[in-house]
Each structure stands twice: as C-alpha cells, then as structure tokens.
Symmetry: C2
Subunit: 435 residues, 2 copies
C-alpha cells in the first residue's frame, strides 16, 4: 500500500510541537475523551492537544469526505459521539485513512481553514490536561500472547528450570484468553487483589492480598475489522485487520498465578485488571518504522512464514515512582518491540487459523517484552529474580514486588531521522487491598 | 428465599403437556427467538410452544406488573424485542421473578385471560418448530471451569500419568477464560477446525484439519446481574447473581489442544466454537432439585466453604447420530450434574474473589461432567481412551473421535415426584474442514 500523505516527514503543523512530543502531525492517533457536560467524543491527539472530531464534523470540516463518499460523510458525525472507537473502526480502513488524512490537512501549517478560525479552535481543540480519556475500545476479546523469546526463557528458568522453553514455543505464537471487561484506561488506580496462594515452604494454601504484585510491559494491537466464524486470514492480509497499537500493562499477582496456573493457564492472577494507553497509534503512522524480525529457527510452517518487514522498531520504557515520592519517575527498564520473536501479523494469522472469529475492538497483547540484557526486562519477576534480588533505587527504596502507592508508567516511541511517533503512556497506581 | 408460586407442583396448564416434556408450567425457561418478518423476540417455552413476551406485553398481559412497579412495566416491552436476554437480565431478580410468575398465571388451566382469547393465542403462542432460536445471551465473558473430579482425574491420567490430579485442584475451582464470541446456539453446524498439532511419534508439528475432534458434556450458568470491578461476592450471595442454566458443548480438537496447551492453557484447540442450548432454565425453577455436593476433602479455605445444598440433581445425556444415519440418536453416556465437586456458587465466588468484574450475560461453564462409571464419561477423550478404544456402535460404526457429518446432542433434565424440569437440548453437526 502507498504511504499515506499524512506520513510526509516534511509536514509541519500550526500547532506548536516539541521534538520530544509523542504526537506530531505525522502521528495523529485516535482516542475517546469525556468532555465535561458534552459526553464522550472521538479525538485525535496533536502535541498537547486533543482535536474533537465531532465538533469538527459539526463545523463542516469533514464535508470534503462527505462529497467524496456520501455514506461515509453521513456516518461520521454519529460515530464521533460514541463511548468507544468501535463504531468508527467498523467503517473500515478507507474511512480511518480518509479521516486521518483530512485531519492532517486541517492541522498543516499552511492551511488557514481551522488555523485562522479562532471560534472554531476554541470549540474543537482542547488541552489534553483538561479532558478525561476513556478506554479507547470496548473489547469483545482480549488475548495475551507470549511472543518474547527472552521473556519466555526467563520465566521458564524460574518456574521450570529443567525445561525452560517448551517444545511448541518456536513453532507457534503461544497465547491464552484473558479478561476483556477488566481492562481499564491509563490513570485508573489498580486495587491490590486478594487470592489463594501457597507461601514458600508450606503445604497448604492461604487466602489474602497478593504479596507478589507485578507489572508486565507489553504492546497490544487493536482489531479494526473482524472476521466471520469459520474464515481464516492469510499472513499477507493480516495487517489489514489491525487498526493500531497501544501500550499495555498486564498487572500480575505472581503468587496467585503460580499456584493456580496448572494445567489450564493464568486466571485470577491476571484478570483483576489490565491497563491500556488512551491513544491508539495507527499502523499507518508506524509505517516508517518497519523492520525485519529475528531469524526464526526452525522455519515456521507455511501459514506462519513471514515475508518482508512485519516487525516494528519501537523503544519501550518502564518508569517507576515509589509510594509517596515527589521526584520524577525513574526509568527501571528499557527495551524494544523489535525483539519480539513473533510479529503481530503472525499472531493474528495464528489466532484466525482455526476459524475463530475476530471482532472489531479486540485487543491482542504481545506478552511481556524483554530484551537480551539485564536492563531490558519487562517485569519485576525477571528484574528481581522473583523478588529475591530487589532493585536498589535512590532514596533507599528496595523494590522487590509492587507496594501500595507505587506507580508504574510504560512509555513507547519510534524515532528515526528526527521523526518521533510516540505511543504516549499508560500509568497506574497500586491501591491497598480491600478489607 | 420463599419458593416461587410458579413452582407449585400442582399447577396445570391449559396447554397440553406430556409427562416427558421438558417444559411444563413449573419450568418456564427464557429464550430469544427470531420470528419471520417480526425480528427477535424474548420468549418463554411451554410444552412444544414458545410464548412471545413482546406480543403478550402489547396485548396488555403484563399490565398487572406495570400497576405494581411502573418503571418495570415501562421497561418490559422494550427489552422483550432485543436480540439477547441481556437487557432483560439487567432489570434484576425481582423483574425475572415477576415475569415468570405472571406467565405462570397466564398459562394456568383455570385462567381464561389468554386461554379463551383465540386471537391473542394466534399472536402470542408459536410452535417451537416454526421459530428459529437465537443464542440466548450476548456474553461479555466466557469462563470454563474444570470442576468434575472424575474428569480432571481421567484427563490427568491420559496427559500426566505420573501426576494426574494437580495439588491445587482440591483447593480451588480451576478455570480458564475461553472465547465468548464463538459461542453458537444449538443447531448451528460446527466446522472441523484446522490447526497445528504433532502426530504421535513425530518430532515436528504439521498443520491440517484436526484428527481428534471431540465434544464435552457441560452445564453452564448465566450471570444475571454483574459486579463492579474491585468488589467480591460472599458464597451466601453468589446465587443471587445467577439467572439460570443451559447445556453447553465445549467442542475440542484434542491434537491441537495437547500440542499448544503448555504453559498457558487451551486456546485454538477450543475457541473455534462452543454450543449452548437455547432455553435458559431459571435457578428458581430448579429450586426443588437442590442436593448437597460431594464431601470436600481437604476442607476449602473459609471463603469457599459450602453451607447447605448448592448442587443440583440434573440428569445429563450424550446422544450420538452417525453421519448419514436415519435411526434415532443413540445414548452413549449418562451422568448427573450432582457429581460436580465444586458448586456453581463456589465457582462464582472464586471468580469474583480477586475483584474481577462479572457482567450480565457472562457464561460460566462447568467443565466436562464425568461420573464415576465407564458409561458416565463426558467426552470421547475419556470414553475411548483418547481414541485408542473406539466405541462399537450399531451398524458397524467404530467411534473414536468425531467424523464429518456426525451429530452430537446433549440433553439434561431434573425429575422428582412426577415433576420434570428439562434443560432441553444442544445439538451440533460436524461440517468438513474448509479447503
């Protein structure tokens, strides 16, 4: 597919953008905001602002789309006033692209249409700090993959020292179904879950607040258009079903998880909450950051054999702010999405290979992304060797697992030739367990 | 809670009911039907008929509810015209009970209101064979438990002969998340999935149609009212969240499942399709069939300690009809839901114990229900020892795993003192794999 004109690196906006901003005019990610007294609105992020797509439509700024494709023009204002992106996503890739490209035109430094209309700007352009972002989609299905070779190996060593990487791992992207309705948007506090676990050295389990609360650094893709039950998706077409990417924190209670997970996989150790970033960065915007993935050995079976560059070069960071701290959050891990062994396209093709239907708004997370070095691990489980080697942080903080009041922030961005396309961030603070 | 007057065993209907009917006047299960040209309608089953609740409401037959509770009266007609029970379920237990009791009154042999109104009968009462039943709920979450001790042990022996029942099993109701959007209603054909599996004795996996397609005999409960994220449900209150029961066939591709399931549990071996029966039998209607569950040893932790009778005495049958057969389906297994080790209340309390939110319409399946005898096993995996000991059926059929064209029917009913409360049936026929 030809690159979108909205990706042109020479574009500049009449809105002031700093070089370290995640949301320059070449990004234009989509989200859902709650505007006081107006209700939910679909929005596009630009610099520190959110552009209200519904108000833009009301003011006629999408009339050119309506002239080209009347049905789309008729559909847009309605979907721009929903509580999730789902209805917009159902309109399909041509609609997503048309809207992103029109927004790009409106924000170009040399286009006076919105730039010089002060009243319209006051209506359409809100500071991000003045709005509340909502969960961007209403997911029907949430699946968590396990696609980082380094993470799977690290965890395998901790839980199955004699058998760290299972024989199936290099043949297919291992995954499990998670809980779609406990996914929350960045900024939502996460209550420490209680559950059943077996303290080390004891025979009998106990029930109580988890003692091993962890984060997991993940990316996730969001399905734009789904599939019918019984149909499959060839690898070459997989990305057509992907709308965009978010950051994903798959909070985990390691003690609950390790006691319950055999033989049917993680359940209560995971499903109390997962957090997503609010702005969905389109696959279109990430086009300049494609890279080849790691060599796959043995070669996958034909339906999963990759051709071309289907991985993405996206820097990822974990920041940590201890309970009560006033200093800025501290980076405790840095890695890159390109380390993933299985691409998003391979994950999607595998998911659909048995005829299982995909739905608009589905969230498919990568699994924890760990890199090859000690400073590039995506969970405290790995960073602290299951809590036995706490991280020594400034201020005398010894971080084993998460304490009440601790805040975890995940950030991600792609950067090349002076162009930075950021995923924004997903943050969450731990609340004490309920009584 | 006092027994509902709709449960009175002496009630008779003016509609002719045979003693072997699943749906006498004491049952009155809820479902959703598609009526040609009218669209979806909520309905109640009575004998071989389906009572159209929307038309009943239009004709004023629920006006007495509106007089008692005006808001409920206003809500009912709308929810009776939806494609799922969800909106009706959200109205809460008092609403479900009021509607069931009013329907019971309308169908009593001595009530002329509907009985003697021929025109109304023609509008409201349809033969079940003339309507298409839809999936009764739109599930947000589908969870599959693993609560039959016999099944867990039988499967454990096949997959882990040295370690059949894992140490956690008797301490908590093991479960995993399944795929909510591939659940289909009884009668929907199920296409044989393709997938990756490793043929016996080979090192490398292959991709192709499953060679080990199986059924699983399960019951499932449907959540009426959900919970907020972060809140839990004490065992004594768990049943307040359960609307009713259905039969559930958790189709399984054993070769795909056994290759993929470690370490994160079943995924593509299960999520291509599951089938539910169309009529949801309320917990109210099953009240007379409560029994104590099996002794639990060791005693569960306090939050899961059962008090009173929270199991149900429901006979279950698997019927099989080979491809091309004209003879009636043959019973190949008989068991009882009372064999389950963990009750539905324990399952629900466990699910909510970490603050994970429950939603209206959620489906929580029991896991395969096997009894203690060879004729009471709930899957071909167990009945045929993983296909190695095929069942010899009349007509020279050797049944190892399911063949294209085979039909599986699950039935369930409770029976005591001449009263039979049936769950109806869930059936499905295997279609050949896609090209």
């Amino acid at each position: 597919m030809p690159a979108s004109p909205a990706n042109d690196p020479s574009l500049r906006s009449w809105i002031d953008i700093q070089p370290t901003d995640d949301f320059p005019i070449q990004n234009l990610p989509f989200g859902v905001m709650e505007v006081p007294e107006w209700g939910p609105r679909l929005a596009v992020a630009i610099g520190g602002y959110a552009l209200d797509l519904y108000e833009c439509a009301q003011l006629g700024y999408f009339d050119s789309i309506a002239e080209d494709v009347p049905e789309l023009g008729a559909a847009l204002p309605k979907v721009f006033r929903r509580r999730s992106l789902n209805a917009f996503l159902r309109l399909g890739p041509a609609a997503w692209r048309a809207v992103r490209e029109r927004v790009s035109e409106l924000l170009r430094h040399d286009n006076p249409a919105l730039r010089d209309n002060e009243l319209a700007i006051r209506t359409c352009l809100l500071r991000q700090r003045d709005v509340t972002m909502l969960r961007p989609v209403k997911p029907t299905n949430y699946v968590d993959f396990y696609s980082s070779l380094e993470h799977a190996t690290n965890v395998g060593v901790l839980f199955r020292p004699d058998n760290p990487l299972l024989p199936n791992w290099r043949h297919l992207p291992i995954a499990y179904h998670g809980r779609a309705n406990s996914i929350v948007v960045s900024g939502t506090p996460v209550r420490r879950p209680s559950g059943q676990y077996r303290p080390a050295g004891q025979e009998a389990p106990v029930f109580g607040p988890t003692q091993q609360l962890d984060f997991e650094l993940e990316s996730a893709f969001i399905v734009g258009q789904g599939t019918q039950q019984g149909s499959t998706v060839p690898l070459a077409e997989a990305e057509n079903h992907i709308f965009g990417l978010v950051l994903f924190n798959d909070w985990s209670a390691r003690d609950i998880q390790s006691w319950e997970y055999q033989p049917l996989g993680p359940f209560l150790g995971k499903n109390f909450a997962s957090s997503v970033s609010p702005w969905v960065v389109t696959l279109d915007a990430l086009e300049p950051f494609r890279v080849a993935g790691p060599a796959q050995e043995p070669e996958p079976l034909p339906n999963l054999q990759a051709t071309g560059e289907q991985h993405f070069d996206i820097e990822l960071e974990v920041l940590f702010q201890p309970a009560g701290a006033t200093a800025a959050p501290l980076v405790i891990s840095r890695t890159n999405m390109r380390h993933l062994y299985w691409s998003m396209a391979q994950q999607l093709t595998h998911q659909a290979s048995n005829g299982c239907p995909l739905d608009t708004g589905d969230i498919y997370a990568s699994g924890t992304i760990s890199g090859p070095t000690p400073g590039s691990l995506g969970s405290l489980l790995e960073l602290t060797q299951r809590g036995t080697q706490p991280l020594a942080l400034p201020g005398g903080v010894e971080l084993g697992f998460l304490r009440d009041g601790d805040t975890v922030i995940l950030r991600g961005f792609a950067e090349k030739n002076g162009l930075r396309i950021g995923l924004g961030e997903v943050s969450g603070t731990v609340l004490p367990a309920a009584d």
